[in-house]
């Protein structure tokens, strides 16, 4: 091994140590939500005895004790900060985490496998907040999330539009001229189809954009790259070969911030879901209430009701708060016209992106 290779390897190990510590801190913050007293590894002689049996000749038990003590102290300090646990779907670096970082600036961001894990986790109190995508400006509604909004009881307390900025990422050792395969979520690959064709790159579908970046960093497959967010480049120590490689005009995804309790303040945008009986003019009658009250609708979407095939639920976003008198009156009149109305919440509108 050449001296510079040894040096590189040491740097890589240091990085991995920190990533593991970050993961440990996240788990500690999560376990606190279960209100169980954790065992203190410094006091835990069993654990120390087990570590000693590892027979690590370069790691002395006094050093182990000192290191664990430092880690435990830092964990306690973090717990005292009382950060909000914000769950998102995907691996670290997913666009959901990009949204979570904007919506919850000083949070702890917890990755979940599925959207339903985010919803159930917030409902059960394992997380304080959830961040989920509802619609993409090019691809339309995220049906799974919209379905979960219908069937769970969480409140919407915020929104953010995240501009999707796809980056071509590769490990530092990869020569861009040698890249042949590009791993990413099928939707991201589809949005960069022309870029891939221009550079004669083969699209390889992967379960997640951030997951592809993580795999690249861990396994370093030959001649491979990933399409993911620039946050992934930071988190997984990857090089950004090219930013903004999507073909069309840049698209954005709207994320909602979910909590168990509604937003404490008035808010200036409101989301509801409702269903109407199968009768001529019923949907029109509901929409007319908003038109007559001069309330501007910002989103109308319909989705088949899974519990009731042949019928639809309607998603409505509009300007104004449920605490406004005009809005309150419209919502009250709606109760008579609709089969059911589900109030998701009033929250501050995201004015940053259009």
């Amino acid at each position: 091994m050449k001296p510079e290779d040894i040096h590189k390897k040491i740097n890589k190990i240091d990085r991995e140590l920190l990533v593991l510590l970050q993961e440990r801190m996240g788990l500690a913050l999560r376990s606190k939500k279960f209100k169980q007293t954790q065992s203190d590894p410094v006091q835990d002689n069993d654990l120390l005895a087990r570590v000693e049996r590892l027979n690590l000749d370069l790691i002395q038990s006094s050093f182990t004790r000192q290191l664990l003590k430092t880690i435990v102290e830092e964990t306690k300090r973090l717990e005292d900060e009382n950060r909000s646990l914000a769950a998102f779907q995907g691996e670290h670096g997913a666009y959901g985490e990009v949204a979570a970082r904007q919506l919850v600036p000083k949070g702890a961001y917890i990755p979940c496998m599925e959207f339903i894990d985010v919803f159930r986790g917030v409902e059960a109190g394992h997380f304080d907040l959830g961040v989920v995508p509802v619609e993409n400006s090019l691809e339309g509604a995220v049906t799974q999330v919209n379905d979960l909004l219908t069937t769970t009881d969480l409140k919407v307390i915020g929104e953010v539009k995240v501009i999707v900025n796809h980056c071509l990422l590769a490990t530092e050792a990869t020569d861009y001229r040698e890249i042949r395969q590009v791993f990413s979520h099928p939707q991201a690959l589809a949005q960069c189809r022309n870029f891939l064709m221009r550079n004669k790159l083969e699209a390889r579908p992967y379960y997640d954009t951030a997951g592809a970046a993580k795999m690249l960093a861990r396994e370093n497959p030959r001649a491979a790259a990933a399409i993911a967010s620039s946050l992934c480049a930071e988190l997984y120590d990857l090089e950004i070969i090219k930013e903004g490689i999507e073909d069309g005009p840049s698209n954005s995804t709207r994320f909602l911030l979910l909590a168990r309790e509604p937003h404490p303040d008035k808010g200036d945008k409101t989301s509801i879901i409702f269903a109407v009986p199968h009768e001529a003019g019923r949907l029109f009658a509901v929409l007319k209430l908003f038109a007559d009250a001069e309330i501007n609708l910002t989103r109308i979407a319909s989705m088949p009701l899974r519990s009731d095939p042949g019928n639809y639920s309607f998603f409505l976003d509009f300007e104004g708060s449920d605490k406004d008198a005009t809005v309150a009156e419209v919502l009250k009149k709606m109760e008579d016209l609709a089969k059911w109305v589900k109030y998701l919440g009033s929250y501050p509108v995201d004015r940053s992106a259009s």
């Binding site: 550079n199 090219k242 490689i245």
Partner: protein
């Protein structure tokens, strides 16, 4: 010139190459910037300065074909990212050289115009590759090449389906040693007779002397060139290449103030 099916004058009307709204072949287009991309600060400073002086596009080399293999070879893709950043800030389109056929599609992702340098004029595999890259090509004249050889190289690019070729006269080798090369000003009207393609001049590499660049720029305007490409560096004495022929932003700005009135004066002359 019987093999010039696409580049010769008879076939069609004059080509106008549109680069983000800048029309080469209609206006007098000025491309300015350093020989090579050295750092973000250097490129951003230059981009702001040349834009303020009235330049239309930014040049800068990320891949450098150098006479010596030990000379600075360029920052590569890092240099392209810096140029892209300068474009985002100033809006100036980017002209940059490509030297390796394997790099062409990647350089095309960052650049608005692909430059083929004098040493690569007859690199036919490179010409075919840029012919397929979907970007305008700025083709410099080989320093030992005749006009016919040059136009045949343009033909290579055109025959791959890329109609946007800009020719650039950058001086040819003669027995004169006071100047680095000899600027062939007669190439401008000659090319206009022979071809429909736009032609610009490079007064930097052709003279190699700062003191001659201003006069040659004005001469190019008078001879009917469609533009010029000139090297400007915020601190020429610190440049990593071509240090003794890069203009300071102040001298460049002075040339620009003399050049525009001459152009409008020429526009008012009665036709030949």
């Amino acid at each position: 010139m019987k093999n010039l099916k696409l580049a010769s004058q008879e076939t069609e009307q004059r080509t106008i190459v549109n680069v983000s709204g800048i029309e080469i072949g209609r206006d007098f287009v000025v491309i300015a910037g350093p020989c090579s991309v050295e750092s973000e600060a250097q490129i951003l400073d230059t981009a702001r300065a040349v834009k303020a002086a009235g330049a239309d596009m930014l040049r800068g080399g990320a891949f450098k074909p150098r006479t010596s293999p030990y000379a600075f070879q360029g920052l590569g893709i890092e240099g392209l990212k810096i140029l892209e950043k300068a474009k985002r800030e100033t809006g100036l389109p980017i002209v940059t050289e490509v030297v390796d056929p394997r790099d062409v599609s990647w350089v095309a992702e960052f650049a608005d115009v692909l430059q083929i340098g004098t040493r690569n004029m007859q690199n036919f595999s490179l010409l075919k590759e840029v012919g397929r890259a979907g970007r305008p090509v700025l083709l410099k004249r080989g320093m030992y090449s005749t006009l016919e050889e040059w136009l045949n190289c343009a033909e290579y690019v055109l025959s791959e389906g890329n109609p946007d070729v800009i020719l650039c006269e950058r001086g040819i080798r003669t027995f004169e040693t006071y100047t680095r090369n000899t600027l062939d000003l007669s190439a401008i009207p000659a090319i206009k007779e022979l071809s429909h393609l736009p032609i610009i001049i490079d007064p930097t590499h052709s003279t190699g002397r700062i003191s001659l660049i201003g006069s040659m720029s004005l001469a190019a305007v008078a001879a009917g060139a469609d533009g010029m490409m000139v090297e400007v560096h915020p601190k020429p004495e610190e440049a990593l290449c071509d240090a003794d022929q890069a203009l300071t932003p102040a001298i460049f700005s002075n040339i620009m103030t003399r050049l525009r009135p001459l152009k409008s004066f020429l526009n008012d002359l009665p036709p030949q």
